[in-house]
Subunit: 252 residues, 2 copies
Amino acid sequence: MNNQQAIKEKPAIKDKPVIKAKQVTNRGEEDYIKAIYKLSDEAEGDRVTNHQLVTYFAHTAQTVNEMVRKLEKKKILVYQPYKGSLLTALGKDEAVRLIRAHRIWETFLTEKLGYAWEEVHEEAEMLEHLTSSKLADKLYAFLGAPTVCPHGNYIPVLSDMNRDDLDTCGRLKLSKAKKGKQYCLKGVVDDKALLVYLNGLAIYIDLCFTIIERDLISDIVTLAYGGRNTSLSGAVAQKLFVCEVYDAEDNT
Amino acid sequence: MNNQQAIKEKPAIKDKPVIKAKQVTNRGEEDYIKAIYKLSDEAEGDRVTNHQLVTYFAHTAQTVNEMVRKLEKKKILVYQPYKGSLLTALGKDEAVRLIRAHRIWETFLTEKLGYAWEEVHEEAEMLEHLTSSKLADKLYAFLGAPTVCPHGNYIPVLSDMNRDDLDTCGRLKLSKAKKGKQYCLKGVVDDKALLVYLNGLAIYIDLCFTIIERDLISDIVTLAYGGRNTSLSGAVAQKLFVCEVYDAEDNT
DNA sequence: ATATATTTTAAGGTTAACCATAAAAATTCA
DNA sequence: TGAATTTTTATGGTTAACCTTAAAATATAT
């Protein structure tokens, strides 16, 4: 027995490959970080409750609790039972890093590979998790330092890493737009069903239109563009971001 | 108790996001498939023994056995105890799909993003596992249907999916080259240390040189190119693939 | 201020991909 | 052919990310 040990101890280390897998799949944790970042924009008080995560991921309360506690230990967030989670600076950096990678990939896939805007989310969702800063930066430069992704959402750069609202900044929700005025579509929420719906209506980024009707009872906005009128529900209008357009003849 | 059940059964399904992670990390299995494919090129009789996998991955015999049995159940290989594993057509297709994705990514990273040839392996190693056929095909087209990766190795296309020797086909190992003849470097093994070494010697794909010495005792080849002479060990020469070059004046 | 509802968490389970130890089986070699 | 060596596999363990059930703690609404 002792003998066998002795023999086993010297299995001549040949200079063979010896492949080791590395940082395999932070996927779970990273998805939680992104979710908390995203949900905190919409939620009141910035704190994201476990309940929100339960419905977002369709995980059990137990699972959400475990993940949140784990991220808390890693200093990625602070958690108050019954109150919710708040990302630390570390957590926010991580979230922004992921969102940046996500949007860079989306831009690459549409601009360079000819994907449609409703096809890129899933691919980017996977690729973002294995995108080093080096890769992100090189891709970004290759794309010509774009400011927005195919859905019109800002691609954060290091200087605005901690800006809170990456999605609406400088723009207006269409649901807040005013009758009679002219707007230009600058961003949409990255939601496949919505994107396909907009395709059918020939609505895309940079489209300009006039609001010809805004019914507050039915919560419907009606736009005029390209010789047609289209009515959108409040639910849709809330997912579109616009900038006001000033006509040449319309001074101020 | 029964009561509680009844209440719990109707947690009104809201139309909230409900994000589900999918096909998470076949990484382990896929690495085994690739390893078996690669090792079967070098090994005698095509079969890859568990022992080869043990040294390749630095996993235990038990782990290798489990993985092999699992892949066997999935019809990816046939395994004979004490003999080794042989990929099925399904397994080979899978391996080639991965190698194709790997080499396409390597090409993208060097050609489009300016990576050095010794930097691309690790990135490609991760990206290949989440590359759909659609993505691979679009990338491939974007790159202009390249035939080889930055290391000069063939990028398989569907038509040669089952070709056995993707790495040496049509080419010669430098270690088999003859004194006095002229050759062109067409491929090198994708091994970081080797690539960095070659950088230092200004040796790269498509470099042409003449073999001015070939010492069989010391197993050293000496090349002349760009006004310099360089001696390479047999270990290195075995990892370089060349084609013979015929001078204009040297008929036949 | 309590009763009800909701949120948290303890306890224990599952699967995948790894590990170690050691017994059983097959191969190889003398 | 038997002994030595190698290969395989049974048993049992670990961690991460999920699960269920049910108890404990807190919040809310009357």
